[in-house]
Symmetry: C5
Subunit: 117 residues, 5 copies
């Protein structure tokens, strides 16, 4: 799934009937603007998870919905600067040492509170 930032709603009056009246959002995937179906109710500025491929259809509500990019979740906390640093930074010298050990995580907050196992 992609990590995107919501830019603004998109208005397309002339569209195929299968698209129904679902909300469309312009999202920023890196520096590229794409259009995603909004399945969670997000607002401009939100950092969201976008799912593509055939999974975008079920995520948008039904197996026959013609979406190839659907917003499926809003990220609780996302710091793009920290993320960029992590992406540009050197790989960990020993991949066998998890970042969650004695070494502080380099990217954002590690929060496991919301997870279930």
């Amino acid at each position: 799934m992609l990590i995107c930032k919501v830019v603004k709603p998109l208005v397309s009056t002339n569209r195929i009937p299968d698209f129904e009246h679902k909300h469309l959002q312009v999202v920023l995937d890196g520096s590229t603007q794409k259009v995603a179906v909004d399945a969670v109710g997000c607002i401009p500025g939100d950092w969201v998870i976008c799912v593509g491929s055939s999974a975008a259809r079920e995520a948008a509500g039904s197996k026959s919905y013609p979406s190839d990019l659907t917003i499926v979740g809003i990220i609780d906390h996302w710091d793009p600067e920290a993320a960029k640093a992590a992406a540009a930074g050197p790989p960990a010298p020993n991949p066998a040492t998890p970042l969650s050990g004695g070494q502080p995580a380099v990217v954002g907050q590690i929060s496991t509170g919301g997870r279930t196992s």
Copy 2:
């Protein structure tokens, strides 16, 4: 979905029978030209929404239509310059502050009139 600009119709006389006689349009995805099946009736110069992946098939009319890129909607208003500025600009300092608040949106017109909830 991709935001593309329609360039011109494409003529391909020698094509597989499954392609039928549907209109094909050359569209510009960034700086790359692709071919999309036209399901809305657009004209050169239109800014359109193109859906890919397996969703392109249903969008073109049937589950067995062999399209991987289908034009599913015409965008009411699209300002590529504003869009470029937004894409190149710095991210909002605080992602928790929606752009639709006191801060003016940096990209194009925010129009919610056409949306239903």
Copy 3:
């Protein structure tokens, strides 16, 4: 769909049985060489339409054929230089004005003779 140029046939004697004896062509997608199943009978130098994703399978003859890129049509006329110019050129100042109006189309020949509506 992609606009590709056919380079040459590809010979792969050791292949999975599902691939059968269908013709494979090396095609140029921009500057990247890919392999496509030939469903139309093209020759080196042809400019062709290639369909990807799951649609490539049906286009190659059956829902279970393992292709992810199939040549589905030969383009009647394609001028890559004009196409490059269009891709590199500035966007129309007013997207609401279709190029097919008083302004001549900037890319290639607009031919609608082969289309049906």
Copy 4:
């Protein structure tokens, strides 16, 4: 499949019900951060195999799970520096000569112990 490095868990409280409570991980695909469903139980720093496309759904547990990127395996040993060298290095002068012959492999450890035939 992609070779990615696990960065950290991702918390998204507001997500579509179909996403259930499965673990989501931020992974690094080259220099791009993506989100993957964790089907193996990995930890930050692990090098993992991520499967995309429609296969990501079954890999996440069911045909209707809306994932387009699922972590399906943890790589036993992965040396990103050796991998980079291999990717940047010149191609073998004679592709007909397998690297496993008299010529030492240029990338990492060739281990076949875990394979079955």
Copy 5:
């Protein structure tokens, strides 16, 4: 389909059961390393055809196998240098003139011996 070079087998002991014990190979797609399921029995140094998308699953043996990249054939002869030259070279001045005519093909060997029609 992609033209890739086999780098080495990949060992992943901790993987999802659906992956079974099929061979995994690290392959080089341009300068990016990916993981592919080996359905033909190739060795490091081989130039192979890799199929992606949903077709990778059937190619790996069954519709439910969770692969998004499967090696489906070994290329008989592949000269990456000639291929690079073709990719970097200028397009044919007249696309209507097939390269197989009076003009010698610019890329590798054109062999049609293995094809059926």
